[in-house]
C-alpha cells in the first residue's frame, strides 16, 4: 500500500484512528514482531515494564520473552550483542533508553555495526535499528536532553532517521527495521505525547488535533532518504527535523511568513534533491536544529546549500541552533532555539 493509499484508507473508514508518537512506534514494533520472526527487541526496562516511555508496552506479553526482553545496563553490551545477533541472521531493534546514554555503545556502532558490511565485503551485515529518545524540553538536564545526531551522520555506513509525526514515526520505523544496514532512529521525546510550538509555558497540544496523527492500521512504510514537504511557500526554505519542524512551523505561522518547510526525516542519506529544488525556488534558507551549533548537522546542511545552490541564494544562510553548552536544567528554555531565536533569524533573512 502506498503512503497516499494508506492515508486515504484511514480517512475513509469513518472516524480515523489517531495515535500519539509513542503509540505509533509501539504499533510499528508490534507489526514487525508479528511479520518477521527474526525481529527481536532488547533494551533496558523494555520487557515486562514496557520501557520508560512505554514504547514497548504490552509487546513482551504478546510476543514472548525471547522476542522482547530486558538487558543489563550496558550500552556497549546491548549494541555488541545486537551485532552478533545480526551476524546470526536476526534483525535486532535495540532501545537505548536515552540518546545521552548511547556513548558507551559508540565503538560497537562506529567501528563494528557501521563497517561490518564494508570490511567483510558483504559477508556479514548489521541489520539493526537502534531506537533512542533524544532532544530536550522535558527538564531532563544535561544527561537526558542531548541531540547527538551529528556524531552519527559523520560515520560512514550509518543511516540516521528522525521522525516528527506519528504517521511518519510508524512508517519510517518499519522501513528502518527492514533496512539491511544499521539505522540510528532518534525519537524526539518532547513530542512523544503532543506537538510543540516552542512556547513551553502554554499547554501541550495533543496529537489528536494534528493532521499527521492519523495512523492507519497495519503495515505501511515511509521511505528512508526522502524529506517531507510540511508546507509549500515562497518566502524562504526552512530545513528542520524532529521537534524543530513543529516549532519552526508555529513561528512562521505566527509571523505570517510564507515559508516552505522541509522535514528532512532522514539526515543520511539526505534528500538533497528536495533541498535543492526548494532553495532554488525561494532563494533563502534557514537551518534549524536543537543540537549544539559547532559541527552540528546544520553546518553540513549549510555547506551543501552553499555548494549546490549558491547562485540561487539571495541572502546568507541562517543557522538556528542550540548553544554550545551542555543542556542546562533550570535554563533549558534559554538554551532551546525557541520562537525568539527563530523569529529573529527569519526577520534577518527576510530583510535581506
Amino acid at each position: 500500500m502506498s503512503t497516499k493509499e494508506a492515508k486515504d484508507a484511514a480517512m475513509t473508514q469513518g472516524e480515523p484512528r489517531r495515535l500519539n508518537m509513542i503509540e505509533a512506534i509501539n504499533d510499528a514494533l508490534d507489526i514487525m514482531l508479528a511479520r518477521d520472526p527474526d525481529v527481536i527487541l532488547l533494551g533496558e526496562d523494555i520487557g515486562y515494564f514496557g520501557g520508560v516511555f512505554r514504547a514497548t508496552a504490552g509487546l513482551q506479553e504478546k510476543h514472548g520473552k525471547t522476542r522482547v526482553f530486558d538487558t543489563p545496563i550496558s550500552e556497549c553490551g546491548i549494541i555488541g550483542v545486537a551485532v552478533g545477533m545480526g551476524a546470526y541472521g536476526l534483525r535486532p531493534v535495540p532501545e537505548i533508553q536515552f540518546a545521552d546514554y548511547i556513548y558507551p555503545g559508540l565503538d560497537q556502532l562506529i567501528s563494528e555495526a557501521a563497517r561490518l558490511r564494508y570490511r567483510s565485503a558483504g559477508e556479514y551485515i548489521a541489520p539493526m535499528t537502534v531506537r533512542s529518545p533524544f532532544g530536550g524540553g522535558i527538564f531532563g538536564g544535561q544527561t537526558h536532553s542531548q541531540s547527538p545526531e551529528a556524531l552519527f551522520t559523520h560515520v560512514a555506513g550509518l543511516t540516521t532517521v528522525i521522525p516528527s509525526t506519528p504517521y511518519d514515526a510508524k512508517g519510517l520505523l518499519i522501513s528502518a527495521i527492514e533496512d539491511n544496514d544499521p539505522v540510528i532512529f532518534f525519537e524526539p521525546k518532547r513530542i512523544y505525547n503532543g506537538t510543540f510550538t516552542g512556547y513551553y509555558d502554554k499547554p501541550v497540544e495533543p496529537w489528536k488535533k494534528h493532521r499527521d496523527s492519523v495512523v492507519p492500521e497495519g503495515y505501511y512504510t515511509v521511505p528512508l532518504g526522502k524529506a517531507r514537504m510540511v508546507r509549500e511557500g515562497e518566502a524562504l526554505t526552512v530545513l528542520a527535523y524532529g521537534t524543530m519542524v513543529h516549532v519552526a512551523e508555529a513561528v512562521c505561522a505566527e509571523k505570517g511568513v510564507d515559508a516552505e518547510i522541509l522535514d528532512l526525516r532522514t539526515l543520511v542519506p539526505l534528500d538533497i534533491e528536495a533541498i535543492e529544488k526548494s532553495v532554488a525556488k525561494t532563494g533563502k534558507c534557514m537551518v534549524v536544529h536543537e543540537a549544539t551549533r559547532t559541527s552540528g548537522f546544520g553546518a553540513e546542511l549549510s555547506a551543501l546549500v552553499q555548494e549546490r545552490c549558491f547562485y540561487h541564494l539571495e541572502a546568507p544562510i541562517e543557522r538556528v541552533t542550540g548553544f554550545d553548552t551542555p543542556y542546562p536544567h533550570s535554563l533549558e528554555w534559554a538554551y532551546f532555539p525557541g520562537p525568539v531565536r527563530i523569529g529573529e533569524a527569519l526577520d534577518k533573512l527576510l530583510s535581506e
Binding site: I40, T66, R67, T71, P72, S74, C76, G77, G80, V81, A82, V83, G84, M85, G86, A87, Y88, G89, L90, P92, P104, D107, Q108, S111, E112, L116, R117, Y118, R119, S120, A121, G122, E123, Y124, I125, A156, G157, T159, D179, N180, D181, G225, V268, P269, L270, I272
Partner: protein, 433 residues
C-alpha cells in the same frame, strides 16, 4: 589560600603516605629470565568436574593449570581427551602448516609484499586444538592471532594470502589490514582490529542461536591485555545473564605489545578467576599443551551445547615472537624469556607425544615440514598472480564506495565519480603497466 585544604603531602600528619603501584615486568632486555616462581602443577593432577556442574565448582581450576601432557610426553589424568593417533597427526599437521605459513608471510612482509603480518608462534594450540574441539559449524569470533582456526577449517591458503596482499583476488576487496580475515562459509567472523569488540558479538550470536532453538554454539578469543576493555566485561555479564551457549577464550600470552600481563591485572589474580565473579565456569589451561587445550574446549563446548551455560577459558601461554611485524620485542623484554618458558613449545610437545606413542618419528616430521613449506610456497606463487600490495593489481576504484551501504546513496555516487576523475587526471593515457 586559607580556605583551601592542603593537598599533596602527608607531612606533618600521622596519616600513612600513599604510594602508587605501577606494574613492572620481572625481566627487561638483558635480564636472565627465571620462571621458577610460576606454580606449574603436575600433568594429570587436576580434577575434571562434570560438564553440567555449578560454575562455582570450577573455582579450583581457575587458579590451577589443567595439564595433560607430562614431561614424559604421555597423557595423564581425567582431562586426557583420548584422541586417536590419526586425529593427533591431523592436529600436528595443522600446527606445521600454520608455522610454515607464518614463516613465509613474515618474510613476505619483510620483502615488501605487504604492510603487516602477525605470527602466532607458540600459541598454535590455543586456536587449532581449541577449534578441533568445536563442531565445524560452531561460530567463531576470533581476535587477530587465530589464523590456526581458518587453516584447521580448511580455508584455502591462497585466499588468506590474497587477503594479506590486498590484491585483486582478495575476497575482502583490499579493504582490511592484512590478517583481518572473514569467512562466513567457515563460520569465521570478520576480524575487527578493534580489541575485544568480538566478545559481546559472540555472546549475541550465541543468544540468537538459543532464541532460535539452534544447536550451534559460539566461541570467541581475546588477548589477556584486551580483557581490560569494557566489551569483555559486557560479554561476560550478558553471557552470564542469559546463560548463553558461548566459550570465551582468553589467550594469556603474557604480552600485549610491550605491556606485560600485569597491566591487565595479572599480578592480582588469574584471568580465569574473573569467570567466578560473573557466575561463569572458569578453566585455566596450559595453553602449550595441545591435549589440555582440546579437553578444556571440549568440556566447555559440551557444557554450552547442553544449555548449561558459558565458560571462560584462560589459555596460559607465551607469545614467542613480537606482537606483529611492527614491533621489536628485544626493545622491551628479555630475549631469554622464550628459551626459559617452562611450558615448552606446543608443536614440539605434540610431536614428542606422538613419537612416544610410537605413531610418529622425526623423519616423518621433517618430511611433513618440507611438504607444508612447499604447499605454502605454491599458494604464495598462486596468490602473487593476483598482485602484491601497492602494485596496481587491486580491485577497481568503484569498489571503494560499495558496501558502505547496501545501495549506493547519491553522495557516494558523487564521490566515486570524483575518484575516477582523479585517476583520469593522473593517468590520461590509462595507468602505466
Amino acid at each position: 589560600m586559607a580556605d583551601t585544604p592542603e593537598t599533596g603531602s602527608a607531612q606533618g600528619s600521622n596519616k600513612p603516605v600513599l604510594s602508587l603501584h605501577v606494574p613492572e615486568p620481572k625481566y627487561r632486555p638483558g635480564d636472565t629470565a627465571d620462571f621458577s616462581y610460576l606454580a606449574i602443577t603436575e600433568a594429570g593432577a587436576q580434577a575434571r568436574p562434570d560438564e553440567a556442574c555449578h560454575a562455582s565448582e570450577t573455582a579450583a581450576l581457575t587458579q590451577d593449570l589443567i595439564r595433560v601432557l607430562g614431561d614424559d610426553n604421555i597423557a595423564h589424568g581425567p582431562w586426557d581427551p583420548k584422541l586417536d593417533p590419526e586425529t593427533l597427526r591431523q592436529m600436528l599437521r595443522h600446527f606445521a602448516m600454520v608455522r610454515a605459513f607464518d614463516a613465509r608471510m613474515y618474510r613476505g612482509q619483510r620483502q615488501g609484499k605487504t604492510s603487516f603480518y602477525m605470527k602466532c608462534t607458540g600459541e598454535e594450540a590455543t586456536s587449532i586444538s581449541a577449534a578441533m574441539a568445536l563442531a565445524s559449524d560452531d561460530m567463531v569470533f576470533p581476535s587477530y592471532r587465530q589464523q590456526g582456526i581458518l587453516i584447521m577449517r580448511g580455508y584455502p591458503l591462497v585466499e588468506m594470502i590474497n587477503q594479506i596482499y590486498s590484491n585483486r583476488g582478495d575476497k575482502l576487496k583490499g579493504r582490511q589490514l592484512p590478517i583481518m580475515y572473514s569467512s562466513r562459509e567457515h563460520s569465521f567472523f570478520s576480524i575487527s582490529g578493534n580489541l575485544a569488540t568480538q566478545n559481546p558479538q559472540a555472546v549475541g550470536w550465541a543468544m540468537a542461536s538459543a532464541i532460535k532453538g539452534d544447536s550451534r554454539i559460539a566461541a570467541t578469543w581475546v588477548g589477556e591485555g584486551s580483557t581490560a576493555e569494557g566489551d569483555f566485561h559486557s560479554a561476560c555479564t550478558f553471557a552470564a545473564v542469559y546463560n548463553a551457549p558461548v566459550i570465551i577464550n582468553v589467550v594469556n600470552n603474557q604480552w600485549a605489545i610491550s605491556s606485560f600481563s600485569g597491566f591487565a591485572g595479572a599480578e592480582r589474580t588469574t584471568f580465569a578467576a574473573r569467570a567466578l565473579g560473573y557466575g561463569i565456569a572458569g578453566l585455566r589451561v596450559d595453553g602449550n599443551d595441545p591435549l589440555a587445550v582440546y579437553a578444556a574446549e571440549r568440556w566447555a563446548a559440551n557444557r554450552a551445547r547442553a544449555n548449561c551455560g558459558p565458560t571462560l577459558i584462560e589459555h596460559f601461554t607465551y607469545r614467542a615472537e613480537g606482537h606483529s611485524t611492527s614491533d621489536d620485542p628485544s626493545a622491551y623484554r628479555s630475549a631469554h624469556e622464550e628459551e626459559e618458558w617452562p611450558l615448552g613449545d606446543p608443536v614440539n610437545r605434540l610431536k614428542k607425544h606422538l613419537i612416544a606413542l610410537g605413531e610418529w618419528d622425526e623423519d616423518r616430521q621433517a618430511a611433513m615440514d618440507v611438504e607444508c613449506a612447499e604447499n605454502v610456497k605454491a599458494a604464495t606463487k598462486e596468490a602473487e598472480k593476483n598482485g602484491i600490495l601497492g602494485h596496481g593489481l587491486h580491485h577497481p576504484f568503484h569498489t571503494m564506495f560499495e558496501d558502505v551501504f547496501e545501495t549506493l546513496p547519491w553522495h557516494l555516487e558523487e564521490q566515486a565519480a570524483q575518484a575516477i576523475h582523479e585517476r583520469e587526471v593522473k593517468w590520461p593515457e590509462g595507468r602505466p603497466k
